[in-house]
Symmetry: C2
């Protein structure tokens, strides 16, 4: 698979990409690497000189408090460039870590700056991607700030499911989610013990099947309702 394929798919959701754009993106000098699970791609305080285009696997952004508690800020799936902000913000203010074994393409900042200069519409498309990131952060704030544990989990699952589906990474109501319950706890601002209890509650009510990191959401409407999930904030149809 071309490393740029998921990216192109994602950009096309929100931007009309023409043949020249595609060529310019495919001409980017990308270094593809396989990365083991639980590896740090970029660390808080670093000054990256490249961006990371996720091609396969799952990565997350996170911060760790002085007390040693981790908070996951976002989950990223293939097609995402989770450190795109480093093009304009020179110091990482959080960590970027793989959750599963992943494949990523690394693109030098130089090349991306040149791309945005030559093809301003791609520049705007990339800007838009970072703005959608910000929109997801906003919803994430609501999730940890104002929802009960069970709603938080329902919302997280609905969001990831929706994003997977749009990227063609879900088969029906089923997708792979290589996160441990510890990871989920860090995403939701809960403890792993309580996540476990909530997972069981969702299972018991027939809203979730979860086995060996494969998720299936048999009753999506009820799950979305429980998680108050409305995909408006994902801005998946920004054209026009």
């Amino acid at each position: 698979m071309q490393a740029t394929e998921p990216l192109l798919r994602k950009l096309r959701l929100s931007t009309p990409i023409d043949a020249d754009d595609v060529r310019a993106i495919e001409r980017l000098p990308i270094t593809v690497k396989d990365i083991p699970a639980h590896s740090i791609i970029a660390r808080e305080g670093e000054r990256p000189v490249q961006c990371c285009l996720l091609v396969e696997g799952i990565v997350c952004r996170s911060k760790t408090t002085d007390a040693g508690k981790r908070q996951i800020l976002s989950i990223h799936i293939p097609g995402d460039i989770p450190d795109l902000q480093s093009l304009q913000l020179h110091v990482m203010d959080h960590d970027l870590t793989t959750l599963s074994r992943s494949t990523a393409g690394f693109i030098p900042h130089d090349a991306l700056h040149a791309l945005t200069r030559e093809r301003p519409l791609i520049g705007e498309a990339l800007w838009r991607e970072t703005l959608i990131d910000a929109a997801m952060f906003r919803e994430w704030i609501v999730n940890v700030g104002r929802r009960s544990a069970i709603s938080r989990l329902a919302h997280l699952l609905a969001e990831i499911g929706r994003r997977m589906q749009v990227m063609g990474l879900a088969a029906g109501d089923r997708f792979e989610l290589p996160m441990t319950q510890i990871d989920i706890a860090d995403a939701l601002g809960l403890t792993p013990v309580h996540v476990n209890r909530v997972v069981q509650e969702l299972r018991r009510t027939g809203l979730l099947e979860l086995h060996k990191h494969v998720v299936s959401l048999p009753d999506l409407p009820r799950l979305k309702e429980l998680g108050e999930f409305d995909d408006l904030y994902l801005h998946q149809s920004e054209i026009a």
Copy 2:
């Protein structure tokens, strides 16, 4: 005061602005308005055709859950353009509301698009501002997700104080913060009752004076420590 003055001050923090840039910005067609406290500037679901440059006062972005709970996502001070994302994301995914009587300049999207096209460096500077917004959202997630009530409040006060100071809106350790304890509760994901108790706790320990919406932070080092506040994420010196 020129409506663009706080904006220019803010942009200069992160971008070298030349005389032509200043002229281009000052030539923007801006409609200045006074807005009463607790008025909605833009509502979730709307499709704005202009951006709001805050000149005086305090506004916030917020979402309201199905259960009617409000979560404040960010606090904005003069110089901010809190709906700058609407340039690229056409539908508002949250509300924008004044917390105090405010003065704002409204700038048509057309004019801003033209500006970013003619002066790409300003375009990048605006992109950068939205990325700093995103960085603040990330820290906000950590605040509501992983910190105790008292740390959350300490962090919020330290953040706003720092931003006020940089914009020349603080006199020493003192600044105006026209938020009720209800607003603060909605920012921190707490109830007003509990915010009140935590405010008193901060007062008792000599970390906070708060009277008639004037805040003073007599022991900033201890406050920052309590709130785990490190201003890295504000990216206030992005030059080079």
